[in-house]
């Protein structure tokens, strides 16, 4: 038996390699006497993220495919990777707030964040179903552990356990789907599956159609699409606040990258058959997410439901399935990363060792007591609601115009209606920040940690920048539409 050694091109996995090395160093540091030197740990984490950023940007000029069709670091992957790496970088900085510093074992924590990022990046560049699976599991297992970082708090452990059980369940669906697709097509490479669909059609064999359905259910769990969203509120509420932001933004970006690639490369030729299903899912997700968010008083829970709604908006672009889809999904994911991680970031910046202000009533008057944090939160809320001139507005605009261009005018209208519902609960936070007197005794808010301030500042600038000059960003992303 002769074996063909596959092409090994480390450039295709350069960013992941850099982060893995960083994470391994962090794990080793956690064993020695440097485990408490925050500066060193931060330097290692940010350093490997910076190298990963550089390698990702370098890949824009020279897209590569390697390892016998397992990964392709093409422009599409680069777009999503930028969102993922931004989410990770902001999370690393935001985790230095007062509350999280009081209990986190920083070296292990940063190591896990970087490992989760590795999984996410692999999802963005995976071109074979095994690779998608391995990436998905790497990111999920890291996130289960990250969700339970506050070991002394029951809600954090509950979040970890719930996330783990439902995540394992979803993985089962996903893996079963992969197995059935492999059985029907004899391949795991997305492009070869696409060739199979081209000749046999998607209903060519029941085995294949059922496999794709199971795959979609698995993804539905991971990106919290209605009706697979039940775990989201409890998990986001119980997890440490910076982790919730990372979970929402990073895993959403990664899973959507893989989903778009699977839909267009593997199932592509007959995508029309599936749009009716995705159409319904998108509408359900937008409305259920937004309507349930309205009644939440806990801001973390509200943001969890809002994250469900945002998954719905992104699905709208996938239903459109035209030349605007890829670029508008990437734009949305980038915007969502900054505004969502930012919003969770402000909450964590307000958390002191003995008090976590998570209820919207507790935010009364914060706009005057902590003007900068209040302003940042207001901007994140406006952006999440989709108010111009923030990036959130442009993101929704691109997504809905993709739907209109593809002729899904009703879907776009429903999307706008759902977005209008969301304005209520986002602006409610702003109202509390600025127009309500704090009830009872004044809270002693913690001092703003410089690293947290920097991260929030960057997020605000990114949102305003992408909102004011969306054209130039979009112009770049248009070129990302081409998949390798």
């Amino acid at each position: 038996m002769s074996l063909t050694i596959p092409t090994v091109n480390l450039a295709a996995i350069g960013p992941e390699l850099a982060l893995t090395v960083g994470a391994l160093i962090l794990l080793l540091l956690s064993l020695g006497r440097y485990r408490r030197s925050t500066g060193l740990l931060l330097a290692v984490a940010l350093g490997s993220l910076a190298v990963a950023f550089a390698l990702v940007i370098a890949a824009w000029k020279a897209p590569v495919e390697a390892f016998a069709g397992s990964v392709a670091l093409d422009r599409f992957a680069v777009g999503f990777s930028l969102a993922i790496l931004s989410a990770a970088t902001l999370t690393v900085l935001l985790s230095l707030n007062e509350l999280e510093r009081s209990y986190l074992l920083l070296a292990d924590y940063y190591g896990l964040v970087l490992f989760a990022t590795v999984g996410m990046l692999f999802l963005a560049s995976a071109t074979s179903l095994v690779m998608v699976f391995v990436g998905l599991e790497t990111l999920s297992i890291s996130l289960y552990v990250l969700a339970g970082q506050r070991r002394t708090q029951a809600s954090s452990l509950e979040a970890a356990l719930k996330y783990f059980l439902l995540g394992a369940f979803a993985t089962g669906f996903f893996l079963y789907g992969v197995a059935l697709i492999y059985g029907a097509t004899g391949t795991l490479q997305l492009r070869e599956i696409g060739t199979y669909v081209g000749t046999h059609g998607i209903f060519g064999s029941p085995l294949f159609a059922f496999g794709v359905l199971l795959l979609l259910i698995g993804f539905g769990f991971k990106i919290a699409v209605v009706p697979f969203h039940m775990w989201t509120p409890d998990v986001y509420q119980g997890a440490p606040t910076p982790v919730s932001g990372f979970m929402a933004a990073g895993s959403k970006a990664a899973a959507f990258a893989a989903l778009v690639r699977i839909v267009f490369v593997a199932v592509g030729p007959t995508v029309v058959n599936w749009t009716a299903l995705l159409w319904v899912l998108a509408v359900l997700t937008m409305f259920v997410g937004n309507v349930l968010a309205v009644v939440q008083d806990n801001v973390k829970r509200m943001l969890a439901y809002s994250s469900i709604a945002h998954a719905g908006y992104i699905l709208v672009a996938i239903v459109a399935a035209n030349d605007l889809t890829n670029s508008s999904v990437i734009f949305y994911v980038l915007t969502y990363t900054f505004m969502n991680v930012g919003a969770f970031g402000v909450l964590s910046a307000l958390a002191s060792r003995d008090k976590e202000a998570l209820d919207v009533h507790e935010l009364s008057g914060v706009g005057y007591q902590k003007p900068l944090l209040g302003l940042a939160m207001a901007i994140f809320m406006f952006s999440l609601a989709g108010v111009p001139p923030t990036a959130g507005f442009m993101a929704k605009f691109y997504v809905f115009s993709a739907a209109v261009k593809a002729g899904y005018i009703w879907l776009a209208i429903l999307g706008v209606v759902a977005a209008m519902i969301s304005v209520y609960y986002y602006l409610r936070v702003v109202v509390y920040l600025y127009m309500r007197e704090p009830d009872g005794e004044t809270t002693a808010w913690p001092r703003l940690v410089p690293a947290v301030g920097v991260a929030l500042g960057v997020a605000v600038l990114a949102i305003l920048g992408m909102g004011v000059w969306p054209g130039s960003v979009m112009g770049m992303l248009r070129q990302a539409a081409a998949l390798l």
């Binding site: 038996m1 002769s2 074996l3 050694i5 391994l24 080793l28 956690s30 064993l31």
Partner: protein, 117 residues
């Protein structure tokens, strides 16, 4: 029939042997029942609590680590079947694999997961 036929035969033989020996002692052994014989025996003392106390979570850590390294072993087994054909490429990939998992072992060791605290 395939390579597993001997395995099947051995299973059948073992099953037969076990049943045969049990049956033999059942047939030939003397049987005298008394109340004292039914009591649990603990170095001559009357036991004061039921066996089957709560297990310590320490066992769990050990079992968990065992599974992870067991899965590692699963990968080594097929590698051994083809490593000649793979040459240095195969050596390199297994080296990376082992080194990363060795780091895992060092991590577990230094964190004290292998100690009976």
């Amino acid at each position: 029939m395939n390579d597993f036929t001997p395995v099947l035969l051995m299973f059948l033989f073992v099953a037969f042997l076990v049943l045969f020996m049990l049956g033999l002692s059942l047939l030939l052994g003397p049987k005298k029942k008394s109340a004292v014989k039914g009591e649990p025996f603990e170095t001559g003392m009357v036991p004061f609590e039921l066996p089957g106390d709560r297990f310590s979570i320490r066992f769990y850590v050990i079992a968990l680590l065992f599974i992870v390294f067991d899965v590692e072993l699963v990968f080594l087994f097929p590698w051994a079947a083809v490593f000649r054909q793979l040459g240095w490429f195969g050596f390199a990939e297994m080296l990376v694999f082992i080194v990363i998992l060795a780091l895992g072992l060092i991590y577990a060791w230094k964190k004290g997961a292998l100690e009976w605290e």
